[in-house]
């Protein structure tokens, strides 16, 4: 190909790439901006520190502490459980069932589960709860969110664990280490920054999801004090407040959304910092 044509090609695709990047960043920033701008007037200290008082949904006193606490409790619980199962599954797939039919079947299933709408997990969780005789509760919501998080977290960890170079495992085996010792001391350590990203992905998906907690956790104006209490959540708080006809309550919906964004953002920053510290030992 003549040089000027190749240069033209280069320029053309560069423009396309920059445009795509701008589109992505721009639309995300617009969402942020809208939530912050619309919610800012309602974003007061009492939003964070108080539960809804009588008449809150008509525009009177109170805050969304119930939803903040409910969301944090449920998502933390679900993330903790998913972390354990996901790490164990990912290690199993890569270190024990490597290249087996089972491994590819599990991967395929997880990829499909990833795209299952969250309302389905909610409905499934609800059926299980009815069967076990559990009411809509913190526990129920946690179960549904765990189902939602597991496929994402497992696949994310699976991908990073798969990238661990063979020579590192060999070094460990050659010293007389067992598979288990190698998996936890070498493989998991090398993949640690990626594992952290996996946890964040799972947490982010779960804390922002409304549909799976709708039936399973219910909604309440109180901060749950036991696993069997119903629990509010921020996404549902947004949903309910946005559905009222009162502008000041709608404003609070955006403020609740902003709180959600800030939680996810600070977690993302924290995990980035942590990952950076852990990358120190990673072998390239």
């Amino acid at each position: 190909m003549p040089l000027d044509k190749r240069k033209l090609e280069e320029d053309f695709f560069k423009v396309l790439m920059v445009a795509s990047t701008l589109l992505v960043v721009g639309s995300l920033l617009s969402v942020f901006a809208m939530v912050i701008l619309k919610g800012a007037p309602a974003l007061t200290i009492s939003m964070l520190t108080q539960t809804p008082k009588g008449g809150y949904y008509l525009g009177k006193e109170g805050g969304v502490l119930n939803a903040i606490a409910g969301s944090l409790y449920m998502t933390s619980g679900a993330t903790a459980i998913s972390f354990v199962t996901s790490l164990l599954t990912a290690l199993y797939l890569n270190e024990y069932a490597y290249r087996s039919k089972l491994a590819s079947f599990v991967r395929q299933s997880l990829d499909i589960l990833w795209s299952v709408p969250s309302i389905i997990y909610g409905a499934f969780g609800f059926i299980i709860m009815v069967y076990l005789g559990i009411r809509a509760s913190l526990l129920g919501g946690m179960m549904a969110l765990t189902l939602l998080e597991m496929p994402i977290m497992t696949r994310a960890m699976d991908e990073v664990i798969r990238m661990v170079p063979r020579r590192l495992k060999e070094a460990s085996y050659a010293l007389g280490a067992t598979k288990l010792e190698t998996a936890f001391n070498v493989v998991a350590r090398q993949a640690l920054p990626g594992i952290l990203i996996g946890i964040l992905l799972g947490f982010g998906r779960a804390i922002g999801d409304a549909a799976s907690v709708l039936f399973t956790a219910g909604y309440t104006d109180n901060v749950p004090s036991s696993l069997f209490d119903p629990a509010a959540s921020l996404p549902l708080a947004v949903f309910f407040q946005l559905g009222t006809p009162f502008p000041e309550v709608q404003q609070r919906a955006y403020a609740s959304g902003a709180i959600l964004l800030v939680i996810v953002l600070s977690l993302s920053l924290a995990s980035r910092l942590l990952a950076k510290r852990m990358t120190k030992y990673v072998v390239r």
Partner: protein, 252 residues
């Protein structure tokens, strides 16, 4: 005849249907450096890896025959593979430090074998780094990531790490091929010093290196054992035409 440390009897290795080692029968002498030479793809590495059963970790590999170490066949059913590997330090072609600090890299082996005493671990780390000729360069920064060391230092770290589990045998798979000449010389010097205590099996494709280091030489060609014997004999007066051709540089 030198006292054999490793006795290989009719060892055959297949990799996904390829016959990579054919009926190898061979004694490897104790506390000497044995160089395994031959053109690339001749099965040198496979031979080395079948001595500590590292080939087991590769999918699609089948091995048959016997490898006797201290009189025990390591391919016997029910032998403890981790105990076998503990007896043999392994140095790979490219340095492979573990994702941890310099100290932890060396303490890793003793720790998995149950050593918890901090004082003992400290001593082991120092002793092994001394033996690998790395102590003076890393003393005072043992907590730094191993990956920060230069490639040559990393390979000496791997040597120190291998020594930390108190092996009897050192298996080296072209350990200098990724290193600069100075670092290579470092490794060679350490190996010569170490053969007083350890049996060393050394894979190389560099003939000059074999001449410098080897007491005993094994020549492999397309998975077959062509010739083996004391270094001065095999390297200067080989009896087999294929060995002669290889030494003259006619086949590679």
């Amino acid at each position: 005849m030198l006292r054999p440390h490793i006795s290989i009897e009719k060892l055959n290795v297949f990799y996904e249907g390829h016959h990579v080692l054919k009926d190898i029968t061979l004694d490897i002498p104790e506390k000497r450096i044995t160089a395994v030479i031959g053109p690339s793809g001749c099965g040198k590495t496979s031979l080395l890896r079948s001595l500590n059963r590292l080939i087991d970790t590769v999918e699609g590999v089948k091995a048959s025959g016997k490898v006797l170490i201290d009189g025990v066949n390591i391919y016997e059913n029910g032998v403890d593979v981790t105990a076998i590997r503990k007896k043999m330090g392994f140095i790979a072609q490219t340095p492979n430090p573990l994702p941890m600090s310099i100290y932890d890299n060396i303490a890793y082996g003793p720790r998995i074998h149950g050593e918890k005493d901090r004082g003992k671990l400290d001593k082991t780390v120092e002793r092994c780094l001394q033996a690998a000729g790395l102590w003076n360069e890393v003393n005072g920064r043992l907590r730094e990531p191993a990956s920060k060391l230069s490639v040559g230092q990393q390979q000496r770290l791997c040597l120190a790490r291998a020594l930390a589990v108190d092996p009897e045998i050192l298996l080296c798979d072209e350990p200098t091929s990724a290193l600069d000449p100075l670092s290579s010389r470092h490794i060679e010097e350490q190996l010569i010093a170490l053969k007083k205590i350890y049996t060393v099996v050394f894979v190389t494709h560099i003939l000059r290196q074999a001449r410098r280091l080897a007491d005993y030489v094994v020549f492999l060609y397309f998975g077959e054992l062509i010739e083996h014997g004391p270094a001065e004999k095999v390297l200067t007066q080989p009896t087999e035409p294929r060995t002669q051709a290889y030494l003259r540089g006619e086949i590679s």
